[in-house]
Structure formats: structure tokens, C-alpha cells
């Protein structure tokens, strides 16, 4: 998972694109994971309650990872896309933006 997202972020470094995480780990573990896996993208921290923290709870997240893809207007356009499907979703929305 990390390698795919890392390459996506690197490939689109100059595009209007952002990968935003919501991390449910204890903070120290999250920071360690970022360092060890070269995770450069920004994450909200879900707080000390972890998976039951306020953000995952509001978003009704019951499986991890859970993925939403939003267009430039903030509209939810894809859900649950992983790997190549995520690349395809992002590329589709970036192409829309260039029109």
C-alpha cells in the first residue's frame, strides 16, 4: 500500500493533487511509520481513540483502509478504489480539470 501511494504522490507532484490521510494509530507509531516508509503526505490524526476517534466515527469508517476520491470542487466521485483503480480515478478527475 505505501509503495503504491508513494509513487502516486511522486508522479503527481506537479499536479493539482493531494493525498490526505486520516491516521488511526497512536501518534508515536504514526510518526514512526511516516519516517520508516517515507510517507510525505499529510494526515489528520484521529486522536487517542484511534479507529473510534471523531473523524473515522463521523465518516462511519469500519474497515481500513477506506478510500474516498474527491474532485476539485470537493465532491465525492469514487469510493473504495485501490491500486490501479485509484490511479485511474485520479487521472480521470485531473483530466476533467484540464478541460
Amino acid at each position: 500500500m505505501y509503495p503504491h501511494e508513494r509513487s502516486l504522490v511522486q508522479r503527481l507532484a506537479d499536479e493539482p493533487f493531494a493525498l490526505i490521510g486520516v491516521n488511526s494509530d497512536p501518534k508515536e507509531r504514526a510518526l514512526k511509520a511516516c519516517e520508516e516508509n517515507d510517507i510525505t503526505w499529510r494526515s489528520f490524526w484521529a486522536g487517542p481513540e484511534g479507529t473510534r476517534g471523531p473523524i473515522p466515527r463521523q465518516w462511519n469508517v469500519r474497515g481500513w483502509p477506506t478510500i474516498y476520491v474527491l474532485d476539485a470542487q470537493g465532491v465525492i466521485r469514487f469510493k473504495g478504489v485501490r491500486g490501479e483503480a485509484m490511479d485511474h480515478a485520479v487521472d480521470t478527475l485531473l483530466a476533467e480539470l484540464r478541460k
Partner: protein
């Protein structure tokens, strides 16, 4: 939240053998045979036959997985032969649970065997559910079975069964769990009309007496009403991992992948 699997988990843990190495000299009686005649006095209840069978099944299943792991390491023909010749534990244990359920048919003691079968015998799941509802509609432990129906392929059958629980169970917890399962089936369909049915059930559950169900219902209502494709994502405000506050909407103008993740 009351978890519906408690009876099963309790059975699994309670059935663990007690391996006491203390004072062996005090007890020189031979080991009790596995099957013994019914105890004449109710003060010393015989070991529970359900728990004994579940324990035996767990041991067989664990042994299967251990041997499978070994066979997989060797791979090739060893693995092929293992998969061909060594049936999984369910294959031998389903008939044994069925035999007990048949022997006890109609009695409350049959319920646990039927619940186990509904959970583990995927081929005949429907028949086991039908037996449960036909003879044990008033059993409170049916609350722990409705979740199995959420991912049942035959929606119409599952919904019919849930309706019978909703109409016929004298236990509120069973009816509420049935309502939750019905809502989840409708929600999973993604069909707009059925999402409305799901919302109606979730609204009922959001007012109910079980806190765990209330929370789950509210979460699902929010998801249906605010987190569908085509809806503007709710904003998030919070701290990043370095303690700096930011908003999801700070990234408007960008395509955003929002990734709920954990390092596990």
C-alpha cells in the same frame, strides 16, 4: 455494545481443558470416559456436550491449519496431496453437530448446535436457519445470528427470514438486531429506493434502547445522507500528526484522495 457472539466465545473459552499439574497423588482414579451415563444427581452436572464438541472441533481445525502451513512450506506434490486427502475440520464436524441438532430437535438445547451450523455450514445455512425459526423463534440467542444474513447472496430469502424474526420474536434485542441486518442488506444494495428503506430502519434504531445499535445507526444514516458519490464531502477540521490544525477544504481546487489508514 452487547456483542452477539458472547455465547459462542464463552463456549470456546469455557471449553478449554484445565491442565492442572497439582497434587496428582491425591487423585488416582482413572480418567473419566468421554461418554458417561447421565449423572444421577443434578448437583454435579455432566460436562456440557456442546462445549465439548466445540472444543474438539477447535482442536481439529487448529491441527488442520498447522498441517496446512507445513504442507504449504513444502509445496508441490505434498501440498496437492494434503489438499486432496485431508478434509477441513468442518467436513467431519458438520455431521456431528447435525446429529446432535437432530437428536435434540425441538428442544431448547438444540439451539446452540443449530447456531453453530448456521455459522459454519455454508452449504446448508438456509436449512439451519429455517430449523431455528421453525422451532426456536422465541429463543433470545437468535439475536446473535442475524448478522450472518447481511452477506447472504439470496437477499429476498434473508429479508423474509428477518421479517419473521421482526414479527415473531418476543425479545426486543432479537428484533433490533433483525432490524439492523435488514437495514444493512438494503444499504449494501446501493439501490436508491432501498437506501430509503434502510434510512427508515436506521432512524428507528437511532432511537432504540441499545447504545451500540444507536451509534451504528447514526453512523450509517450519516453515510447514506452525506457520503454518497455525487455529494460534497463534509469538511474535516483537525490536527495533523505534528499538531498543526488544518481543514480538508484547504485542498479545494485539488483532486484529493482521502485515505483512512493505520500502520497495522
Amino acid at each position: 455494545m452487547k456483542t452477539c457472539l458472547v455465547p459462542l466465545v464463552a463456549a470456546l473459552t469455557a471449553a478449554l481443558p484445565t491442565l492442572s499439574g497439582s497434587a496428582p497423588a491425591q487423585d488416582t482414579r482413572p480418567a473419566l470416559p468421554l461418554i458417561r451415563p447421565a449423572a444421577p444427581t443434578p448437583e454435579t452436572p455432566p460436562s456440557d456436550p456442546y462445549e465439548a464438541l466445540v472444543e474438539e472441533y477447535n482442536q481439529a481445525r487448529n491441527a488442520w491449519y498447522q498441517d496446512y502451513a507445513k504442507a504449504r512450506e513444502e509445496g508441490g506434490e505434498t501440498l496437492e496431496a494434503f489438499l486432496r486427502d485431508r478434509p477441513q475440520a468442518e467436513v467431519t464436524f458438520v455431521p456431528r453437530f447435525e446429529a446432535k441438532a437432530t437428536e435434540l430437535a425441538g428442544q431448547p438445547a438444540a439451539v446452540r448446535f443449530l447456531v453453530w451450523l448456521a455459522q459454519n455450514d455454508h452449504e446448508d445455512r438456509k436449512a439451519h436457519f429455517e430449523a431455528l425459526l421453525a422451532n426456536h423463534l422465541d429463543d433470545p440467542s437468535l439475536a446473535g445470528t442475524t448478522g450472518l444474513l447481511i452477506f447472504e447472496n439470496d437477499d429476498a430469502w434473508a429479508l423474509g427470514l428477518l421479517q419473521r424474526l421482526l414479527d415473531g420474536s418476543p425479545h426486543e434485542e432479537v428484533r433490533l438486531q433483525a432490524l439492523l441486518s435488514r437495514a444493512e442488506i438494503h444499504k449494501r444494495s446501493g439501490d436508491p429506493e432501498r437506501l430509503e428503506l434502510a434510512k427508515a430502519d436506521y432512524r428507528t434504531l437511532a432511537e432504540c434502547s441499545m447504545p451500540g445499535l444507536v451509534e451504528r445507526a447514526k453512523g450509517n444514516l450519516f453515510e447514506i445522507e452525506h457520503l454518497q458519490i455525487g455529494m460534497v464531502a463534509p469538511d474535516i477540521e483537525g490536527e495533523d500528526l505534528h499538531g498543526e490544525t488544518f481543514r480538508l477544504s484547504d485542498y479545494r481546487g485539488n483532486v484529493v484522495v482521502l485515505d483512512f489508514w493505520g500502520d497495522w
